[in-house]
């Protein structure tokens, strides 16, 4: 159990700088999810934490200890790999006891730990099987079991759910979250799946090109994305972006439709180009002639709600509406953002225009 501190952390591969200058504090017992698209440096950062990659600059502290030059073997961390990386020539039990044997623990000390972890993960019946004889989900549990028996200071997860089918993924996601509450250990979880990030994290770290874009609770990152990248990455389907102009207390869109600035989450006035960001679930139906005219191209019924792909203000947008509405392709809907939920972004800097949020009523 330990906190992690990264100060001005730099990681390069030859001439390519993957992480230019990263600062992050992870509290003891916190569940942090690093999320971002492929190549954003999240897995590299995890490997740096694990000690599998050397650090080219800055400081990495686990607890009070600077671990820049401490090899992986002595960092007291456990890692669950994307492909589970179980030892194929060992049984499940041997996979789980291996690290403890490396530490010089006796069989009498090891046995109860393995039994306990196996019971916790429901893999007791498989202890004497080889990984080859297990299903993907069972292998995943063994990989977790191997980490748990170590009782490490920090758990690292490198996209451990990406090889599971959708149903199992949801189940294991919930199990890992429950486990994190039980184990009370600092956990760093890497994923490119924003649903995993939202559902599991105490705090999400959104990364792009080795740079942290935003750190915050799932609600914070979802409700108040700092820039266009975060706004587009978090949330599925992605936030809709519409080029617009502020004219006094109105926002004028490409098709000349107008929305009052009072609807925005940020206080904005004056004149200037902006990008209006509205999440699909933050549209509401309004009376004909008000808000945006959206001509439906495609309807995707999901059961609980319905996704409407439409053209509005010269852009393709997606709106999440009630299935009771029974929208049809070719139909025109009149949509307006829910008050206090739409955001304005600077088209040049791509930052959200006003970090000073209007107090929502």
């Amino acid at each position: 159990m330990a906190s992690i501190t990264m100060r001005n952390l730099v990681k390069k591969y030859g001439a390519v700088t993957v992480i230019p200058d990263l600062n992050l504090e992870i509290a003891d017992e916190e569940f942090i999810v690093l999320v971002g698209p492929s190549g954003c440096g999240k897995s590299t950062l995890l490997r740096v934490l694990a000690g599998l990659e050397a650090i080219d600059g800055g400081d990495l502290m686990i607890g009070e200890t600077r671990v820049n030059d401490v090899p992986a073997a002595r960092r007291d961390i456990a890692m669950v790999f994307q492909d589970y990386a179980l030892y194929p020539h060992m049984t499940v039990r041997q996979n789980m006891t291996f690290a403890l044997e490396m530490r010089g623990m006796t069989a009498a000390e090891i046995q109860p730990k393995v039994e306990e972890a196996a019971r916790l993960l429901d893999i007791l019946p498989y202890l004497d099987r080889r990984p080859k004889a297990l299903s993907g989900g069972q292998r995943q549990r063994v990989a977790m079991g191997r980490a748990i028996v170590r009782d490490p200071q920090v758990f690292l997860f490198d996209e451990p759910l990406s090889n599971l089918d959708a149903k199992l993924r949801g189940q294991v996601r919930a199990e890992i979250k429950t486990l994190s509450k039980k184990l009370k250990t600092t956990m760093v979880f890497v994923t490119h799946d924003q649903v995993e990030a939202m559902t599991m994290a105490d705090r999400i770290v959104v990364m792009k090109s080795g740079i942290i874009q935003q750190v915050g609770s799932p609600e914070e990152v979802y409700e108040n994305p700092r820039n266009l990248f975060v706004a587009s990455f978090i949330g599925a389907p992605s936030m809709n972006f519409l080029p617009a102009r502020i004219e006094g207390d109105e926002i004028v869109l490409a098709d000349d439709s107008r929305l009052p600035t009072a609807l925005m989450a940020e206080a904005a006035s004056g004149t200037g180009e902006v990008i209006l960001g509205i999440r699909p679930e933050h549209f509401e139906l309004v009376a004909e002639g008000q808000g945006l005219a959206a001509d439906i191209d495609l309807v995707e019924p999901l059961g609980s709600d319905t996704l409407v792909h439409a053209r509005a203000a010269g852009q393709e947008i997606i709106a999440r509406v009630s299935p009771d509405l029974r929208p049809r392709a070719g139909q025109r809907l009149w949509l307006s953002p829910v008050a206090g939920k739409a955001h304005l972004f600077d088209p040049v800097t791509e930052e959200r225009i006003n970090s000073q949020l209007r107090q929502n009523a």
Binding site: A73, M79, A85, L86, Y87, P88, F98, R146
Partner: protein, 275 residues
């Protein structure tokens, strides 16, 4: 593109004919050698060759009674086993390190040494071993034969190590293993099939190697294959004896290859099919 059944049948036939041709080409000298070893010496060189003859074991009797055949066999076994073990001892960690670090140039240098003609090494080695008074010793032969076994072991095992997902080594690192422990506890058990293939190939190549033993051994340490050269005299050659010796020399590699052919083929093609 789909193939007509008639085309596919034709291809099958071509395949069979080519395989039979290749078989005949490879097996004819071997069959000739074995048959000749059971012929009286004068009949070996008869032209046209006789296919029907009275078989005799005379050549084998001469071989065991008139030459220290058992000693030569023991010499071959000692040198071949020693050089195979030395090759495994040095080549296995070398292949692991080359795979781990992805630095393969030392392995390429070792391969070049294997490709170079043996005569290139022979003179310097002769001078060196003479200076330390090792000519005729088993160690001179074992060490020199390692130039054959070491590259074989390294190159056979390299794709086996490459085939182990890197994350398994990394998991072992995180689990607290030093590189040496990863090698011993994780990597070695995972390449056991490759070790068998490498050992057999190294054994066969070392067993069959003629040149170093001819020059660096003496009458006490001569290996079978170099000793068989004794049957070739300046005036006449004892063909029957030579064929009997050659047949016995060829037996261990042939038996080994037959027993483990399935492993051998999978071992030799492992690198080729890696995705």
């Amino acid at each position: 593109m789909s193939m007509k059944p008639s085309d596919s049948r034709l291809l099958d036939w071509v395949n069979v004919v080519l395989l039979v041709l290749a078989g005949v080409l490879v097996m004819t000298p071997t069959a000739w050698m074995i048959l000749s070893s059971f012929k009286p010496s004068f009949e070996v060189t008869a032209y046209p060759p006789t296919l029907i003859f009275d078989p005799t074991v005379e050549n084998y009797v001469t071989l065991t009674e008139q030459t220290p055949f058992l000693r030569y066999t023991m010499n071959s076994i000692i040198v071949t086993t020693g050089s195979t073990l030395l090759g495994l001892l040095l080549g296995t960690p070398a292949a692991f390190v080359a795979s781990w670090t992805r630095i393969t140039w030392p392995a390429v240098v070792a391969l070049m040494a294997r490709m170079a003609p043996g005569t290139l090494f022979l003179l310097p080695w002769y001078v060196m071993f003479r200076q330390v008074d090792m000519i005729g010793s088993y160690w001179a032969l074992i060490l020199t034969h390692a130039v054959i076994t070491l590259p074989i072991v390294t190159w056979v095992l390299l794709p086996y190590f490459d085939n182990i997902p890197r994350s398994i080594f990394e998991a072992a690192q995180v689990d607290g293993c030093s590189p040496f422990r990863i090698f011993r506890r994780i990597a070695l058990p995972l390449v056991s099939a490759g070790l068998a293939v490498a050992a057999i190939l190294a054994f066969v190549f070392s067993w069959n190697f003629f040149l170093f033993s001819l020059v660096l051994s003496n009458s006490q340490s001569k290996t079978l294959i170099a000793a068989s050269f004794n049957f070739i005299g300046e005036g006449s050659t004892n063909w029957g004896g030579l064929m009997a010796a050659a047949t016995i020399i060829a037996l261990p590699p042939l038996i080994l290859a037959a027993v483990v052919q399935r492993w051998l083929i999978s071992g030799l093609t492992l690198g080729a099919v890696k995705g």
